[in-house]
């Protein structure tokens, strides 16, 4: 069981994540979003890691209240957050407005591997890998 702390006074539940690529690894802030089916990361991070849209598995379009954004889906060699890591992890590469102060969203594609409890007042996420 792991415990991840976050700032309960912030507008979003922001956690640190780490992504590995052919050239480097990057640590970034992601907003934990149980309404996002996928995990999203901004293109600059994937570019710096050595991934390119040409390696992408598919072109994707995200539609939201503020418009639509084209991106791509790719797999990173390793991804970690909340104290757990996984290999060959699928990420959707899309831009995010700078004002959000995050590099993407930690969505259900990662979270569904765990049982987790978000204790909002305490600013803690308690998670454990679900038995397969």
């Amino acid at each position: 069981m792991k415990v991840t702390r976050f700032d309960p006074g912030d507008n979003l539940i922001i956690v640190a994540a780490r992504i590995w690529g052919p050239r480097a690894d990057k640590q970034v802030s992601l907003a934990l979003d149980t309404a996002a089916s996928e995990t999203h990361v901004i293109p600059e991070v994937l570019d710096e890691l050595g991934y390119s849209p040409r390696q992408g598995e598919a072109v994707t379009i995200v539609r939201s209240a503020i418009g639509s954004e084209q991106g791509y889906m790719t797999r990173v060699s390793r991804f970690s957050a909340l104290g757990f890591s996984c290999a060959d992890f699928r990420i959707h590469v899309h831009d995010q407005p700078e004002g959000y102060g995050i590099a993407g969203l930690l969505g259900l594609s990662f979270l569904k591997q765990f049982n987790y409890e978000i204790r909002s007042v305490e600013g803690r996420i308690v998670d454990e890998r679900a038995a397969s």
Partner: protein, 92 residues
């Protein structure tokens, strides 16, 4: 070396705590190296060095690129609070 060259030269800070980084670069994106993480879950570290900072996210990535050959591990964070509520996303 001219002053212009000095101004453009890649800069790295001394080791700073997150509190010091936030005070020095408020509401900016920062690129950090030599991050002394406390554990593998929380956003807590002892100190880190700043190799890029700017209000614009893309600019700090640009500044940090000058250090990419020396540091293969780097962090990119925003020193302010998130200012927007997230709009719902719909995948097609």
């Amino acid at each position: 070396m001219s002053e212009a060259q000095h101004a453009d030269a890649p800069h790295i800070s001394e080791p700073l705590t997150w509190k010091q980084i936030c005070e020095r670069y408020p509401d900016e994106w920062v690129a950090l190296v030599e991050i002394d993480w406390v554990n593998d879950t929380d956003f807590d570290f002892g100190t880190a060095r700043v190799v890029g900072h700017d209000k614009k996210r893309s600019e700090q990535f640009e500044q940090a690129r000058a250090w990419a050959s020396r540091y293969s591990s780097m962090g990119h964070f925003f020193t302010g609070r998130s200012r927007a509520s997230m709009p719902p996303l719909l995948f097609l």
